[in-house]
Amino acid sequence: MTDEDPQTAEPKPPILRRIWRFGARLDVAAVLILAMLLLAVLGSCFPQLSSPVAANPERLAQWETGVRARYGALTDLLSADGAFRCFRSPAFLISLALLVVATLVCTLNRWPNLWRRAFHQPVRRSDALFHTTPHAFELAAPAGVDISRIVRERLEHRGFRVQMAEVLPIDRPSEQLTDPPTICLRGDRNRLAPLATLVTHLAVLLLLLGVVLSSVYGWREEIAIGPGETVEVGHGSGLALRNEAFVVTRYPDGSASGYEAKIAVLEGGRGMKRGSVRVNQPLTHGAVGLTLRGYQGTEGQYTLTLLAARDPGYAWVVVAGFLLLLGLTVSFNFPHCRVHVRVEPEGVLRVGGRADRRACDFEREFVVLAAELERAIEG
C-alpha cells in the first residue's frame, strides 16, 4: 500500500495509514510471535482440558478430580486464569487473531512491490544504478567486439533470463542517429522467487482457515464397542459400527507387532461395509474416519475403543502445509538475482548486480562473472 502513486491514490486518513503501517511492521509480527510462543510454553506446563473431555460430564468430573488432587487450593486460581484451557484462552486467541491480521496486512502491503519486481522490471537503467548496486564493475572493450552478445551468452550460461533494450539519446542530432546506441541488458535468475514470500503468508492464512473449519464443522466421538455389539456413531452421520473381531499379531519374542480390529459399518440399516482398523491405518467411510484408540479384555472377547471423526479442515491444513513448505524452500534457497548491464557506444561495459538472499554466494559468482567477461572480451 505504501507503493501507491501519490498522484492517483485516494488519500487515506492518517490514523488508518498509521495503523496499516504498524500492522505491516516486522517488529510487530515478532512481538506477536513471541507472545504466542510464551503462551504455548505456559500451556505446555499445565494439563489441558480437551474438547471431548469437556463435552462429557462424566469424564470432565474425573478430570477435575485429578487436577484438584494435584494442584489442591491453587486449582481454582489456575482455572480462573485459564491455565487449563490456555489454547482457548482470550489471550492466546487474541494473539493468534492479531498475528493473522498482521500476516494479512504484511501480505497485502508487499504484494504490489513483489509483483512489480517479478513481472515489471525495466531493462533500461541509468548510470546511477551502477553506483548504488551492491556489486559492480566496469570494463573497456576493444573496438569491433560484440560485447552485448558475449554478456548475453555468459549470463544465459549461468541460468539468467536475459532481456535487451536499446537506448537512443533524445538530444542527439538527427544526422548522428546511425551511431550505435547504448545497449541495456537485464538478467534475472529465479525471477518469481519473491512471490514465494506471498505463498508462505497465504499458506499461513489457509492453515488457520483449515483449523477453523476443523473446529467449527468437525466432530470426534470416542466409541466403546463390546464383542459382537453394534453402536451408533451419532452426530447425524447415520452410521453404526459393529465389533466383529480383534486380532493381536506378535513378534517371536511375544511382544505385540500389530493390532487389527475387524469392523462392520452400517449406514442407516441400508448397507454394510466391512473393513479393518489397524494402528496407523484408519478405516474411512465417506467423510468419517475410524481409528483404533484402545482395547481391553481377554483373547477373543475384546472391547474396542474406536475414534470416529469427521474433519473437513484436515485437507486444507495439509495443502496449506505443503504450500508453506514450498514458499519457505523457494524463499530461502532460490534467491532472485539480478544483473544490469550497460554497453556504451564507446565500448565501455558497466555491470551491476544484486541478490535478495545469499549475498555471499552471489558476491563470489559476481567476481567469477567479471573474470569470465574480461577473458571473453580480451580473447
Binding site: L26, A256, S257, G321, L328
Partner: protein, 258 residues
Amino acid sequence: MTYGLLWLALAAYAADLVRGWRWMGRGATTVTLVAWGTLTGDLVKRGLGAGHWPLANRYEFALCFVWAIVTVYLLLEASWRERKGGAFVLAIALLVATWAITRPADERAISPLIPALRSVWLQVHVLTAAVGYGAFGVAAGLGLVRLLPRASLPGEEVERAMERAVALGFPWLTLSILTGAIWAQKAWGRYWGWDPKETWALVTWLWYLLILHVRPLRRWRGRRLAALAVAGFAVVLFTFVGVPWLVRTVRLESLHGF
C-alpha cells in the same frame, strides 16, 4: 570410535582456531569426515540388525541428530570454505553424542518396533526432524563463534553462515511438523492435539520464525541474532530431552513415545 574421532576433530579444529595452524584445520576436516563415515556405518548396521530404520527411540534419534549436525556442518564447510566454526559445531555435536552414550543399556538396546511406530511416517517425520535439528545445531555453533569476544572471523561472514543454517533447518522442521500432523491424523484421528511434544515442536518453530522475522531488523543483527540462535538450540534440546522430563514432572499426558 566415532565419539573419540569427534573429540579428536574438535581438538584439531580448536588448534586451527587458536593457533591458526591451517594444516591442523585440514586434518580436522579429514577426521570429521572419517567420524561421519563411521557413524553412517554404525547407523546402517544398527538399522539392518533391527530390521527397521534406527529412529525408534531417543537413543537412535540422538545418533541421527549427531549425524545430521556433522553432515550439515561438512556441507557448509565445503561451500563456505572456512573452518573456524568447526570447534564450536563439534562441541554441540559432542553434547548430543555424550547424552546418547550415557543412556542406560536398555535404552540403547535394539528392539523390535512397537505397533504405534510401524508406519512409513516414522521415517519421514523423525528423519526430517533430525535434519532440522542438525541444521539448528550448526547455527548454534556458529552463533557461539559470533559471540566470541575476539572473533578471528569477520562477524558478518559468520552471521551469514549462521543464517544459512537456520534457513536450511526451518523448512525441514516445518516438514517434520507437517508429516507429524499427517501421521497423527492417521494414528490418532486428529492432526493436532496440543500434546506437550507437539506444543514444544510449535514453540521451536515459532522461535526460529522469530529469528527469521528479526533478522532484517538492523538493531537485532550481530550478537543479538547469534544469542537467539544459541538460545534456539536450547529450545531444540528441551523439545527433544526436556519434554519427556516435563511430562513426568508435571504428570502430563502425552501420546509421544520420545
